[in-house]
């Protein structure tokens, strides 16, 4: 009798298993290859070469000699950077103040409606399909500081003097945020609304049996249901407003006196107007880092919250 059993087919080695896998998969890779090339060319490689370029001097858009952190130091010492950072934070805060609550309130109200629900949804969403450039130019024209500008004509009807609107450095950022909110609130509202429509009515019935009033039902049923959406859209809104570019670029050109200059706009100014691609790249990296830190903080916070609830 043989002491050991020889398998009829020898177990394939690691390497040949790997080759088999590749052979099996190569058709799949062929299919997704072109897409991966596009993602690399348009997203991944630019993100990496941005980091690379930020450590080099540049002529035109080409890296020349390694300079370490010199570009970063120069930007951090540029007073415009501080201005743009402050402005961008201000955009973010104003957008949370004006733009964050509105969609939540609207969604709760619309979800309670029996009449005109379709009209409310459509009417509130429509500004979202208006192209961004058209939106900002339209609002810029409505806020024309001339006495004959539309907003000023309205003010004149009630006997108020014409306002400078976007030319007033204190009002410019909130007005830009107002424009962005007009465009975006309806779409955000639809996301909340979709969640609200999945709330099981028996929760409300149970709350009623317990004698919960309207406020308590809102606080203990509606709000917890929305909380995941609220947290997600909170961070998404910060990330998207932090990149604000074309709104001030078109509406105020960053003025008056740089009062609305945003970080991405400064990046564009460094690279395409001052012709310093390295500064542009370095500022791009700084913006990415800030956003990544914000995302991480958010994830940590939302995880802690989840654990304490359990």
């Amino acid at each position: 009798m043989k002491s050991s059993i020889t398998p009829m087919f020898p177990m394939p080695s690691r390497w040949s298993r790997f080759k088999l896998q590749l052979l099996k998969d190569y058709r799949s890779w062929l299919l997704i290859g072109p897409s991966l090339i596009l993602f690399s060319f348009f997203i991944w490689v630019p993100l990496l070469s941005n980091v690379y370029l930020s450590f080099f001097d540049s002529v035109g858009f080409n890296a020349t000699s390694f300079v370490g952190f010199a570009n970063y130091r120069a930007i951090l010492q540029d007073s415009l950077f501080l201005t743009a950072l402050t402005n961008t934070v201000s955009y973010t805060l104003w957008s949370l103040l004006i733009g964050f609550i509105i969609p939540i309130v609207l969604a709760i109200l619309v979800s309670e409606m029996v009449h005109f629900k379709g009209l409310f949804k459509t009417g509130l969403y429509i500004p979202n399909v208006v192209p961004g450039i058209a939106t900002v130019i339209l609002w810029t024209l409505m806020m024309d500081p001339n006495p004959g500008g539309f907003f000023n004509l309205l003010l004149a009807q009630i006997g108020v003097d014409p306002q400078p609107w976007l030319s007033n450095p204190d009002m410019a950022i909130p007005l830009i945020i107002l424009t962005m909110t007009w465009k975006g609130a309806g779409a955000t509202m639809l996301i909340y609304l979709a969640t609200l429509q999945t709330v099981d009515p028996t929760y409300y019935d149970a709350a009623r049996l317990e004698g919960a009033n309207l406020w308590q039902r809102f606080w203990y049923v509606t709000l917890p249901y929305l909380m995941n959406n609220v947290k997600l859209l909170f961070i998404l809104q910060i990330i998207s407003v932090f990149q604000v570019f074309y709104e001030p670029f078109v509406m105020t050109h960053g003025g008056p006196n740089n009062a609305t200059l945003s970080l991405t706009q400064l990046m564009h100014r460094y690279a395409f107007i001052d012709g310093n691609a390295s500064y542009g790249a370095a500022l791009g990296v700084i913006i990415s880092l800030i956003l990544m830190v914000l995302s991480v903080i958010y994830h940590l916070l939302s995880r802690d919250k989840g654990e304490t609830h359990q």
Binding site: P34, L38, I133, M142, D144, F150, S288
Partner: protein, 306 residues
């Protein structure tokens, strides 16, 4: 009155037996109608103002309606700017972008969601990870890479870039993580047995893509196509950076350049700019009216706004 039959939500029929809640409901309806009015009013103002002359636009007391709805002014502005040229450019960009977006994001999602070659998860993680860093921050190297393609075309083939100017704008639509996710979420829900059955019948990967997946993927392709049309028509930053030859400007780039040079254009005031804006919002609004249901329902289910 259907309020008596409402069984869901914060307030239901039991609450609406009380007059107080019915009054509250009425107040909310009026409030929402008001908000909808504010939401739509700027577009209404745009429509009406587009017909006004410069004098009418700025005259006191304020009148909402123009003296007369005369299409002559609209036609004048259209002809003066040779606007059709820019509309064509935009249409060419949109068509290429839609094909590229549906094809490349769809194929990638098919690969990651259905074929699942070894390493597919890593790619998925990289795509999600790179979504955390907004692509805008890499605008400098992106611009450089695109220009290198242009130089490559011109040096190698010795031809003017001409209509090839639009190629990067087509291809970049094929690298859209949001549209990839839309496709993937849809494919993930399809029953896997379908693909297994096709494979048993000896269909190749590509065949099962065309014969099994595509027929079922029509709704999601439609949604991605609509989003791509809208996003491409409205896109500004990249077209603005790379379309430097005025002959190849898209509608949005042209509108921006008009606004930026307002002071220097002869006889072209804000009243005419409003007319141009009206032209630019007609296509997306028409598209929205036609595909309202698809657009609002996919915004609601995916949380992707554009």
């Amino acid at each position: 009155m259907r309020l008596r039959q409402k069984t869901d939500g914060l307030l239901n029929f039991t609450d609406y037996k009380q007059v107080g809640y019915r009054v509250l409901y009425g107040i909310i309806v009026i409030f929402l109608l008001l908000v909808v009015f504010i939401s739509i009013f700027p577009l209404l103002w745009l429509l009406l103002s587009s017909f006004k002359t410069a004098q009418e636009l700025y005259s006191l007391p304020f009148r909402l309606f123009p003296n007369r709805f005369d299409l002559v002014k609209l036609k004048e502005v259209w002809v003066y700017l040779d606007f059709m040229k820019y509309v064509w450019n935009s249409i060419i960009v949109v068509i290429g972008a839609v094909i590229s977006s549906v094809l490349f994001n769809g194929l990638l999602a098919y690969g990651i969601s259905v074929l699942k070659p070894k390493g597919h998860h890593l790619i998925y993680v990289i795509i999600l990870g790179s979504m955390l860093i907004p692509a805008t921050t890499a605008m400098v190297p992106l611009y450089k890479n695109i220009n290198e393609i242009y130089f490559f075309i011109e040096d190698t083939f010795g031809i003017d870039r001409g209509i090839l100017t639009f190629v990067p704008l087509w291809l970049i639509a094929g690298a859209n993580p949001f549209h990839f996710l839309l496709f993937k979420a849809y494919f993930d829900r399809l029953p896997k047995e379908l693909f297994e059955a096709a494979e048993m019948d000896g269909a190749s990967k590509l065949q099962s893509f065309f014969q099994v997946l595509l027929p079922m993927a029509k709704p999601i392709m439609m949604v991605v196509a609509i989003f791509t049309i809208n996003a491409t028509w409205s896109d500004f930053l990249l077209p603005y950076l790379i379309l430097q030859d005025p002959a190849y400007q898209t509608v949005m780039v042209k509108i921006y350049s008009i606004q930026a040079s307002m002071g220097t254009l002869m006889n072209f005031g804000p009243d005419k700019l409003l007319t141009v804006l009206l032209f630019s919002v007609i296509p997306p609004i028409t598209l929205f009216i036609l595909f309202q249901r698809q657009i609002t329902s996919s915004v609601a289910t995916t949380g992707i706004k554009e």
